[in-house]
Symmetry: C2
């Protein structure tokens, strides 16, 4: 059995690298740190390596286990885990670490996973990769501690949108309850992730919500963020994260869109409620993603990008709401 | 045992009234409806009666069981449940229904509960009254159905702020998981409660966030909402709900305050992160509430109310951050 093979490798080998995906989120980081802390408890040598920066809001997590950059990686890993990655491109240059004779293990929950490792522990029903790592930690039989539990709680709370997304199952809640029993510091996680909005981000959100446009019987809502708005609020590009959801969450809206002006191009984020396939919509502009959440980049000025994208969105909606 | 006494009354008696508290929330309504549906399954006559209006966002719940107004109440109830009420004042005129010979049962989880009924099933460790009703439904041994599970899920998700508040325990998650197994329609609950923001409310939130003031090394953040802002956004008083949290959720903020202008008075809502006792702070202005969330009404114009309340808040903060 696959899980037993992985347990055997962990017990018998040494020299592990754990690789989260680039553009890292709470699931990939929480799962990686929980697995690293567990391997440490088994007296294994283990590095976490990522070919990207870690967003500031996850500092509380990586305090518990150092995360190395690509250039700090050793040459001698015997076993490499990729965590929460659909394909090899998701680990950036870290793919160079997967050499001949290195055992590679892919732990993931995305439906689009390409089974790119020697062993592929992919559970598409798991709400988060953290759920799979939870099972692994259980089976390894190490003593749980607060740091491991907190890291996995972070995985789960972020990938389920605080247990609100449709991927949340009864198993998700059972695991969350068990992690609390293992002293997961949920107040820390909540405060670090959801109660530390910066003043510039708050101001930007205000400006964005005042700049909302509603179209087509309230089926489309879009928000525009210009460079000037970012500057005037003292905000950074990262501060736009999550704002697109406010467009989608408006009553009766089927498609919520965020247009963010960048230099000579416009970054588009799209969310849909129930019908529109955002992935297909963004493919028209060489983008992609998931059914209910996707994105693309349009090389043009703001007005033209909005007009082109909204036209395409109207077409899609007209197919659905005839 | 108390629980057994209540089970016995339910099984032996008939003619039940279930009373949620005024200014109803998801916990009192969800718990009341779950209990009413359960009693119906036991072929009991049961009314839910409230001396208040039901907020529009809970329409999806009360579709499952009609909620009567005070003047529609019958004269002949044998057993009355109060649900999620700290004291008799919380049921408004419905307290007149608790006559001699009526058996009264108080089901609640507030620490400040005054044990005002004949039987008082008060569990202060429960995150929501819904957790207690869940146990009751289990013990009554009726077949679970989606409506009962959905109502209780509503109780729990609303009173734990989507499992983010400190009251969330491993039991909370275990119950939530069990409710999903009993076909709780969590997508319905999430969509109705968290993804139906109106356009006026969205615009008001935008205006509010642009009208934020930060004081005292970012320890205080306050938001002002004037009558004019409400009018210009087409928003109602109810649309200000939840906005105070955006003030508290700013990085480093200890006290978040919302000042809402009303006719000849100002309504103040306060939230604190860790130290300030909001209940005590609001008591200075004849208000009150909980340690981390409270409110008061100041009879004055906006500028004066802000100045008085902020002065008091500064005093409190200076005691803490010497």
């Amino acid at each position: 059995m696959l899980m037993n093979q992985i347990l055997k490798i962990i017990k018998e080998e040494n020299g592990f690298a754990i690789i989260p995906h680039i553009n890292p989120d709470g699931d990939t980081l929480g799962s990686s740190i929980a697995l690293a802390l567990t391997l440490k408890k088994l007296n294994k040598d283990v590095d976490i390596i990522i070919d990207d920066d870690i967003p500031k809001n996850y500092s509380f997590l990586i305090k518990k286990f150092p995360v190395k950059k690509y250039h700090e990686a050793a040459n001698s890993y015997k076993v490499i885990f990729t965590i929460d990655c659909t394909d090899l491109e998701r680990i950036g240059r870290c793919k160079n670490l997967i050499r001949d004779k290195v055992k590679s293990i892919n732990i993931d929950h995305h439906t689009s996973n390409t089974f790119f490792c020697q062993l592929n522990l992919v559970d598409k029903k798991a709400a988060a990769t953290g759920e799979i790592v939870y099972q692994l930690v259980k089976l390894l039989g190490v003593d749980w501690d607060s740091d491991i539990a907190t890291a996995l709680y972070t995985s789960i709370i972020t990938d389920t949108g605080c247990f609100k997304y449709a991927n949340t199952t009864s198993i998700t809640h059972q695991i969350a309850g068990d992690l609390i029993n293992s002293d997961a510091n949920i107040q820390l996680v909540v405060e670090e992730l959801y109660e530390k909005r910066s003043v510039p981000k708050t101001l930007l959100l205000g400006r964005a919500l005042n700049n909302i446009t509603i179209l087509l019987d309230q089926k489309i809502a879009y928000i525009v963020i210009t460079r000037r708005m970012l500057e005037e609020c003292g905000a950074t590009d990262g501060d736009t994260e999550g704002i697109v959801n406010y467009a989608k969450e408006i009553e009766d809206v089927e498609v919520g869109i965020l247009f963010k002006e960048e230099e000579n191009r416009v970054k588009v984020s799209v969310r849909s409620r129930r019908y529109v396939n955002c992935n297909e919509l963004c493919k028209h502009f060489n983008g992609g993603g998931h059914i209910r959440a996707a994105g693309c980049v349009i090389e043009s000025n703001l007005d033209k990008a909005i007009s082109m994208f909204i036209d395409k969105t109207r077409e899609e909606l007209k197919k659905i709401f005839k």
